[in-house]
Each structure stands twice: as structure tokens, then as C-alpha cells.
């Protein structure tokens, strides 16, 4: 089987064009991990990797939803606020003594409903996604403070057990349940994008909406669907965040939408839509997580360096995408 590449007469190995950004992210991740391991002995501990997942599980889920939206060429600015609103609603309802199962159902319904509404406004009234989701962001953030101006602690038994449950191996390394949930979401999303009709439509619309429409694809339905999916992912992310912090606070996850967009872009998804993978998004979130871990390990660098490094990486990756785009045009 290996003779195929040798007899084809190719003198050098060519990287597949679409995978270059993802491979670059993977390389970056490995380099950063290598730096970490060579600088700090504790970095090679498996638990460090697990902690990156534990600390960023909710970010991962939200970023997966955002990947769908960005693949269609849209953008969803409301995700951070929807995460906060979900956590806030859960905390408030639990405080009122509502059973955990019912709270979960309600919390998981709010996000997709808002997403559906935003998708409908975007599609039917032809208003730009940027401005509609901006209004959604304002709305959700306003709802948070409307519910309560202060942080609400969660003492519910189900929530605390979900928060404290450790799934680990005999060596003492563990992950939280949130990580498993995030993993399931990633798998479902990857399957949907790669193997279902919806996934194909998403890529087609991102590639060229006019062509997609002329091909008879359900452009409107798909567009509304991706905002609903993003809303659902934000709601799941909000639940995971409330597992993580065991509280709902009105100012939690402020500016998270930018981290999420950065993760998706670093993961190689093209912002004009049409190209990108959920796997890339996972790598993008990991890159952000490892930067944070490296800065924590260093100790001498201040946390605001994280923002500068993320900004620099964002620049590098957009430039990379741009260069690839020019070269192959």
C-alpha cells in the first residue's frame, strides 16, 4: 500500500490544504506542551492535561456550538450571556426548592428557545446576525441581573454530587463528569457535521449561500437550526459552569464569547464559513487552556498576559488562513 505515493512520481509530500490550519494548531499545541514539560517537571503529570479539560469543559461545549454558527458564515455574540443566564436561572430555581430534574429541563430549554428566536429574526427579517445576537446578548445579560443582583449559591444535592464526583484511575488521576458530558457533545457534533444532511447543509451555506439556495438546500431552516444548536450548547455550557462553580452570578462569563470565537478561529475554522472541523475547535480550546496553565505555572507573568498571547495567536492564525487562501486562489 505504501508504494502508491512512491510510484506516483511526486517528489514531495503535500499537505492537504483544508487541514493545514488544524495541523498548525496541533503542532502549536505540541510545542507548547513540550515547552511546559521541559520547563516544569510537574507539567508532565497526566493530571495537568485532565485539569485543562476540567477547567475548560464548559468552554469546549460552547465553542462546539459556535463552530456550527461560524461554519455557516454567521456569528453568535450571545453565548457568554446565555451561559450566565442558564447558570443564574438554575441557581434561582434551585434556591426556590424546585426539584433538580425539572430545573435541568427548564435550564436546557431557555438557551435553544432564545437561539431559535434569534435565528428566526436573522432569517425572516434579514437583519445581520451580528446585531441580532448582540441584542440577544444584552437581553440575556439583563435577565441575569433582573433575576438577582448578587451571586446565588447552589446547595442542591444533585448539583454538588455532579460537582464533586471524580472519575479516575488507580494512579489518582481523575476527570469530572462535566468532561464526560463535554466529550459526548463533541462526539455528537462531530458526527452531525461529518455524516448527516444537516452537517452537509451547514458547510454548503457557509461556502456560498446563493448556490446553496439554488441547489434547493433548506437555507432558512439550516440557518435557524445552527443558532438553536448554539443556544443549546450554551445552555449545556451554563449547566456545566454551574456544576463547576456551584453558583450563579450575574457577571459570570463576561467576554466569554470572544474566548469562544478565538478558540474556534485558532482551531482552524474559517470565519467566512464553509471550512473547519469540530476537532480543530477542541484543539483551539486546548491551546487556550494550555496557555493559561503555562502562565499559572510560570508565576511571574501576570494573568493579563493571557489576553495578549491569545490576541497574538489569533493574529497568527488569521494570517495563516489568509495566506493559504491567497496561495490557492
Amino acid at each position: 500500500m505504501t508504494t502508491g505515493t512512491l510510484t506516483a512520481g511526486r517528489t514531495r509530500f503535500r499537505l492537504p490544504r483544508k487541514q493545514i490550519p488544524v495541523l498548525a494548531t496541533l503542532a502549536l499545541l505540541l510545542v507548547m506542551y513540550g515547552i511546559g514539560v521541559s520547563q516544569y517537571t510537574a507539567f508532565s503529570n497526566v493530571q495537568v492535561i485532565f485539569n485543562v479539560f476540567i477547567d475548560n469543559g464548559f468552554l469546549l461545549v460552547v465553542a462546539v456550538g459556535m463552530t456550527f454558527v461560524i461554519l455557516t458564515g454567521g456569528i453568535d455574540l450571545s453565548v457568554g450571556s446565555v451561559v450566565a443566564m442558564t447558570a443564574m436561572v438554575s441557581a434561582a430555581l434551585l434556591q426556590d426548592g424546585m426539584p433538580a430534574a425539572l430545573v435541568l429541563v427548564i435550564a436546557l430549554l431557555i438557551g435553544p428557545t432564545l437561539g431559535l428566536l434569534m435565528g428566526c429574526v436573522i432569517h425572516f427579517f434579514e437583519i445581520q446576525p451580528f446585531i441580532v445576537t448582540l441584542a440577544g446578548m444584552f437581553f440575556a445579560r439583563g435577565m441575569c441581573t433582573f433575576i438577582s443582583g448578587a451571586s446565588i449559591p447552589i446547595t442542591d444535592g444533585f448539583w454538588t454530587s455532579m460537582s464533586q464526583e471524580r472519575i479516575g484511575n488507580p494512579q489518582g488521576n481523575f476527570v469530572s463528569i462535566s468532561v464526560l458530558i463535554a466529550f459526548v457533545v463533541v462526539c455528537i457534533a462531530a458526527y452531525t457535521l461529518a455524516y448527516t444532511r444537516l452537517g452537509r447543509n451547514v458547510y454548503a451555506i457557509g461556502g456560498n449561500p446563493q448556490s446553496a439556495l439554488l441547489m434547493g438546500l433548506p437555507v432558512g431552516r439550516t440557518r435557524i437550526a445552527v443558532y438553536t444548536i448554539s443556544g443549546l450548547c450554551s445552555a449545556i455550557g451554563g449547566i456545566l459552569l454551574s456544576f463547576y462553580t456551584l453558583s450563579g452570578a450575574p457577571l459570570i462569563a463576561v467576554g466569554m464569547e470572544l474566548d469562544v470565537i478565538a478558540a474556534v478561529v485558532i482551531g482552524g475554522t474559517v470565519l467566512t464559513g464553509g471550512a473547519g472541523y469540530v476537532f480543530g475547535t477542541v484543539l483551539g480550546v486546548l491551546v487556550l487552556g494550555v496557555i493559561q496553565t503555562l502562565i499559572t505555572f510560570d508565576g511571574s507573568l501576570n494573568s493579563w498576559w493571557t489576553k495578549i498571547v491569545i490576541g497574538g495567536l489569533l493574529f497568527a492564525f488569521i494570517l495563516l488562513q489568509r495566506l493559504i487562501g491567497i496561495r490557492y486562489k
Binding site: 434579514e126 446585531i131 448582540l134 441584542a135 478565538a262 493579563w304 489576553k307 490576541g311
Partner: protein, 356 residues
């Protein structure tokens, strides 16, 4: 009768009608809720009152929104203005705080010049990314939005820098001719921008670039330069707004200064009738938009509602104004009366991003 109908329609159709109506309704509602709302009194040679407060507090937003209007009319968007406000304020305050005589006018002028210089460089960076490299504006400026907060924190070393400089404080709280100085600064900026865009060909050139960058380049306009210039102007406006915000509180906070201002500015521009797709811009509409947002904020404060909850009201206003202005929405409701053909079904036409 037909004549009055058509005049009525012309008035309704005027681009400033709906923004002005919204502003009027908000002021009227406030006056009904609190009869003393519109009263202004003269104290110690200065005018005081809620309307003056609204004008003074809206000055930074008007400045930022003016720059944003130009950027949006080239078909772009500038998300970095909030971070630029924080950076310019941080640099100015940092420099002043290190000087022995903070009240010296020379020190303040030097500080302002330094901060403005940095802001122009950062604006040029945005401009290069969009106009030369050809990155999508929303993402190109996102870089500075994320990294800029870090830079501002780095300049202030994570501290809130407090200064005690009378000349600097005057930018935010000083008075001239019985009115706050901030109003005059915003007014001067508005007149300057208006003069350059409406008395010279610059405005038309910007609109043609926003309409179609490729076509205008083929017509002999240096699209790249125009787009670049828009981002530099936007950064300069943001820097002045940053001075004003920090002068208001005599301190620079890298984290909080100018937070959300980019979103408010975009809203002001959209409420003012400028399309996010580019190609047309209305400076007067933007100013009314900024006044609407500030009136809304003041109203919500006056009603003892927490500042964060005011976002809820902003969301409602945004959606309402956008829906009223959306051709698809209007067509849906006036089709029966006017026999307007149904809107095109293609939901959005992606703008071609053109590297200059």
C-alpha cells in the same frame, strides 16, 4: 388630500424620523414619570439639569460612534474602540501620575500627545490588517479588542491609576460658556468629521468604497487608503473618548474603562440609520442614536434599576429599531397597502472582502 398623504409619507420616510421619534417618546415618557426631568437651572454660572447630564455623559459615546460610523460605512466594523479607550486613558494617566507637577498644562498636553500617538499607531495596525492584508474587519479588530485589554492592564500594571490633575480633569468635568466642556469637544469632533466628509469629496469616496470596494478601486479611488484612514480616525476618536472617561473619574482602570462601549457605539450607528453593510452613512443619525442610548441609560438609573439590567431595555430598543428599519420587516407589514413586491428570499448577501 393626496398631497398631505405624500407629505406625511415623505416625513415618515425621512431617515431621521424614527430615531428622532424614539428619542422624543423617551424624553416625553421621562417627563411624565418625573415632571422635573427637563428642567435646567443656572448655578454658579454653570447650567445643571438632567438634559445637560445626558449631553455630557453621551459625549464619549458620540465621539466613539462618529469614528465607528466612518468605519461601518466602509463596510467594516471596529471592535477595538473600547480597548483603545482603556489604553489611551491608561497611558495619559500613567504619564501624569509620574510627574512632580500634575497640574502643569505642559504635562497634560504631553500626556495627551503620547496617548494619541499610540492610539494612532494602533488604529494604523487595524487599518493595515483590514486594508492591506485583507482580514475580515470583525476579526482584525477582535485581535486588538482581546489583546488591548491586556495591554491596558500591562501599562497600569493591573492597578487603578489615580491622578490629581486639574487640567486633565477639565476634559471630562470642566465648563465653558456655562456648559460642560465635554459637550463642546464632542460637538467640535462632529463638526470636524462632518466638514471633512460632507464639504469635501471624502464622504462620497467613503460611501463608494463601502458600496463596492472593487468597483471604486477600478474607478480610480484608492480603496485601501480610504479604509485605512477610517480605522485611524476611529482610533483617534476612541482615544479622545478614553481621555474623557478617565478624566471623569480622575483615574484609569485598564479593565473597566470603555467596557461595552464598542457595542453601544455600534448600536448608536445602527439606530442612526447607517446600514451595517456599508455604503451610506448618517452622522446626524449617529448622534441622535448616541443620545437615545444615553437617555435610556439615564432613565433606567433614574428608575432605580441596576445598570446591568439596563441591558434588557437596550436589547428591546435595538431589536425594535432594527425591525422598523429592516426592509424585509416593513415590506411584510405594508405589502397589502402599498403593493410592494415581496422581498428577495436570499437572507444575506455576503460582502466580498477586498484586499486593497
Amino acid at each position: 388630500m393626496n398631497d398631505t398623504m405624500s407629505r406625511y409619507r415623505t416625513m415618515i420616510g425621512h431617515r431621521l424620523f424614527w430615531p428622532a421619534a424614539v428619542l422624543f417618546v423617551m424624553l416625553a415618557a421621562n417627563t411624565i414619570y418625573r415632571p422635573g426631568f427637563l428642567s435646567v437651572e443656572l448655578k454658579d454660572g454653570h447650567l445643571y439639569g438632567t438634559p445637560i447630564d445626558i449631553l455630557r455623559l453621551s459625549a464619549p459615546l458620540i465621539l466613539v460612534a462618529l469614528g465607528m460610523t466612518l468605519v461601518i460605512s466602509t463596510g467594516g466594523i471596529d471592535l477595538s474602540v473600547g480597548s483603545l479607550c482603556a489604553i489611551s486613558g491608561a497611558i495619559a494617566c500613567m504619564y501624569i501620575s509620574k510627574q512632580p507637577d500634575q497640574n502643569s498644562l505642559g504635562v497634560v498636553v504631553t500626556a495627551l500627545a503620547m496617548a494619541m500617538g499610540v492610539a494612532l499607531v494602533l488604529g494604523a495596525w487595524n487599518g493595515v490588517l483590514v486594508a492591506v492584508i485583507g482580514i475580515q474587519p470583525i476579526i482584525a479588530t477582535l485581535i486588538l479588542m482581546v489583546a488591548g485589554r491586556g495591554l491596558a492592564q500591562l501599562i497600569t500594571e493591573g492597578q487603578i491609576i489615580t491622578i490629581n490633575s486639574e487640567p486633565y480633569r477639565a476634559i471630562g468635568l470642566g465648563h465653558a460658556l456655562t456648559l460642560p466642556l465635554a459637550i463642546f469637544i464632542a460637538l467640535a469632533a462632529a463638526l470636524l468629521v462632518a466638514a471633512f466628509t460632507r464639504r469635501t469629496a471624502l464622504g462620497m469616496i467613503i460611501e463608494s468604497v463601502g458600496g463596492n470596494a472593487t468597483a471604486s478601486r477600478l474607478a480610480g479611488i484608492r480603496s485601501g487608503r480610504v479604509i485605512f484612514l477610517a480605522y485611524v480616525i476611529s482610533a483617534a476618536c476612541a482615544a479622545v473618548a478614553g481621555f474623557m472617561m478617565t478624566a471623569n473619574v480622575s483615574s484609569a482602570d485598564g479593565n473597566a474603562a470603555g467596557l461595552w462601549v464598542e457595542l453601544d457605539a455600534i448600536l448608536a450607528v445602527v439606530i442612526g440609520g447607517t446600514s451595517l453593510a456599508g455604503g451610506r452613512f448618517f452622522l446626524s443619525g449617529t448622534i441622535i442614536g448616541a443620545l437615545i442610548i444615553q437617555t435610556l441609560t439615564t432613565t433606567v438609573y433614574a428608575m432605580d434599576i441596576s445598570p446591568q439590567t439596563s441591558l434588557l431595555f437596550k436589547a428591546v430598543v435595538v431589536i425594535a429599531v432594527c425591525l422598523i428599519q429592516a426592509p424585509a420587516f416593513r415590506a411584510r407589514f405594508s405589502r397589502r397597502r402599498r403593493n410592494v413586491p415581496p422581498p428577495a428570499t436570499i437572507a444575506d448577501k455576503p460582502k466580498e472582502q477586498v484586499p486593497a
